[in-house]
Symmetry: C2
Subunit: 335 residues, 2 copies
């Protein structure tokens, strides 16, 4: 055990990408666990696009990270000291630990989830964690995917997108098309993950390729990126098509207010629906999705990848990977 | 009975507003009703914004009107000759009669709806017709309005919008705010129709007035207009807010592809939903809404207005009224 707690605090709100002046490393004393609390040594940080949105001074589903506050983020850690019956030393716990070496776990609302034995932490952060749950409930509950649907997903080589495409196939989609930003990613999602087609949105004509791949239109578009790709998919929606709004990663670093999708008007004539969701609302139903995920994993029918970056100090660069497209699968920082 | 059928055919596709070269009056022989058909003398035309969208060469929920074809439009007429058991001379019928003096009514898919006795034709085109049905099912079914909702409606002095606001109040909305384009319209919807507040979108600061009127956000926005007002309402949506996409009248005459609502991103964090619909899908359920409407009318709890324009030749100008805001209530052409 080190005798200091290193933590990354938000030094200033980024304009555009996170850079060297966005966060500042601080060394502070390790917090002692109080009554009914435990001390957690953070081992893995889950790097998610939503962290970038919390850095802006804008209303959202959680308040912005305050200037001088530890950067908010999910992670997994080990309980190293405890004054709580809820936690035993050695437990692996999951929750919003923040970008720091040590976090304090409480009870009640501040409680962390204890990981079941036998689930690797990296997997817990990916298919069993926020990404897998987001893919599962976004596709099936928000999007009400039905057998025979033609499904398109953007950010398809990311942690959420790669799960979306695979779950769609497992649930009987007629066709699954993924959009990704490199040929390597495109090969991975088709050859390893079983997507029917992949479109490289940086080099292909997305509109034309989508028309060829989905001649009868898109029944369900799972949107991780926003921007032009959302607009193009809205322009090619099928009757009663659904757009699941999961994220808008192409716009999170925009310095100006991003434009909206002009093709939203298609929703009228097509009786279409565009709906957003936040996975926190589904926590009570996670066991249902985790059971399905466990079955598919056991049968070797679902695959995952992690892109692990070492060192707490690398967290800002790891976050930027999501926006430059430098990752395949889940980005994790190992402390 | 005249001995010619005057009809307005689409001469060229309008760019922007309909003008003198968009339609052409033709005199053709009155069609004879064939086997199982009836001849209908058109009395009233329902002037609806959607007619403008059919004039564009763009995919939609119905095919574009062909160049040289009679302008498509709903109307009410009287059966003047019949070779069908379905229609008796003197019956008043409703359907897509088109902009002409005489239309032929068929059976099966081409059948027209016979109006119940005692419903004035103008009312049949308004609260009992497409506008009333659109308001009812859009608000309650697509928008799932619940008691206590804060409801905003644009085009609030139009046939659909004025019904939306009144039905919302009748169904227990906590507050109903209407947007309209003149002070006279604003007074009408508040003083006569019982809206809680009206905003003149031409002279008021819409964003600020909405924030004052709906400090906790908008639960349901019924959108007839699209454009900036849609974007502003998306920016002020409440948690689990719903946007019912009924029309986009502010954009139908745009010469360039209209911009989209940049604030759509709010739907993610707010778990919001934006959904379109076409009232034709609800025809089987019209009796349910018409029964409710009949009850409210009998009790004097719902009001309506018609703006009647005389003469078939006035139909193009009557259509433009919808876009210049020259009407209060339902625009009808009396032939």
């Amino acid at each position: 055990m080190e005798d200091v707690n290193r933590r990354l605090v938000l030094a200033e709100r980024p304009i555009g990408m996170v850079d060297g002046s966005t966060v500042r490393m601080e060394n502070v004393p390790i917090p002692g666990p109080g009554q009914n609390e435990a001390l957690v040594r953070v081992q893995y940080l889950s790097i998610d696009p939503t962290i970038r949105t919390w850095m802006d001074d804008a209303p959202g589903y959680l308040p912005p990270i305050g200037i001088g506050d530890v950067v908010r983020g999910a992670g997994i850690g080990e309980v190293v000291a405890t004054n709580s019956d809820r936690y035993a030393v050695g437990d692996l716990v999951f929750g919003l630990l923040g970008w720091q070496d040590y976090a304090v776990a409480g009870e009640g609302d501040a409680a962390l989830q204890t990981l079941p034995a036998g689930v690797a932490p990296t997997l817990a952060l990916n298919l069993f964690g926020v990404n897998g749950m987001t893919a599962y409930f976004g596709l099936l509950d928000v999007g009400r995917m039905a057998e025979g649907d033609v499904v398109v997903v953007s950010g398809a080589a990311g942690a959420t997108g790669s799960a979306v495409g695979q779950i769609a196939k497992l649930k009987g989609a007629a066709k699954v098309v993924g959009l990704a930003g490199t040929d390597e990613k495109c090969r991975w999602i088709v050859d390893q993950l079983g997507f029917d087609e992949a479109i490289n949105y940086r080099t292909d004509n997305v509109g034309r390729r989508l028309r060829e791949a989905c001649p009868n239109g898109i029944d369900l578009y799972f949107d991780n990126v926003g921007g032009m790709i959302l607009d193009t998919c809205l322009g090619q929606l099928a009757l009663r098509g659904r757009v699941v709004l999961c994220g808008a990663i192409s716009t999170y670093n925009d310095k100006r207010r991003p434009a909206g999708p002009g093709n939203y008007r298609n929703l009228i004539g097509l009786r279409g629906r565009m709906e957003g969701f936040i996975i926190l609302d589904y926590v009570d139903r996670f066991p249902e999705a985790q059971a399905a995920m466990f079955g598919w994993l056991t049968e070797g029918r679902i695959h995952h990848a992690e892109h692990v970056v070492k060192g707490l100090e690398s967290a800002p660069d790891a976050l930027n990977l999501l926006f430059t497209g430098g990752n395949m699968g889940k980005v994790i920082v190992e402390i």
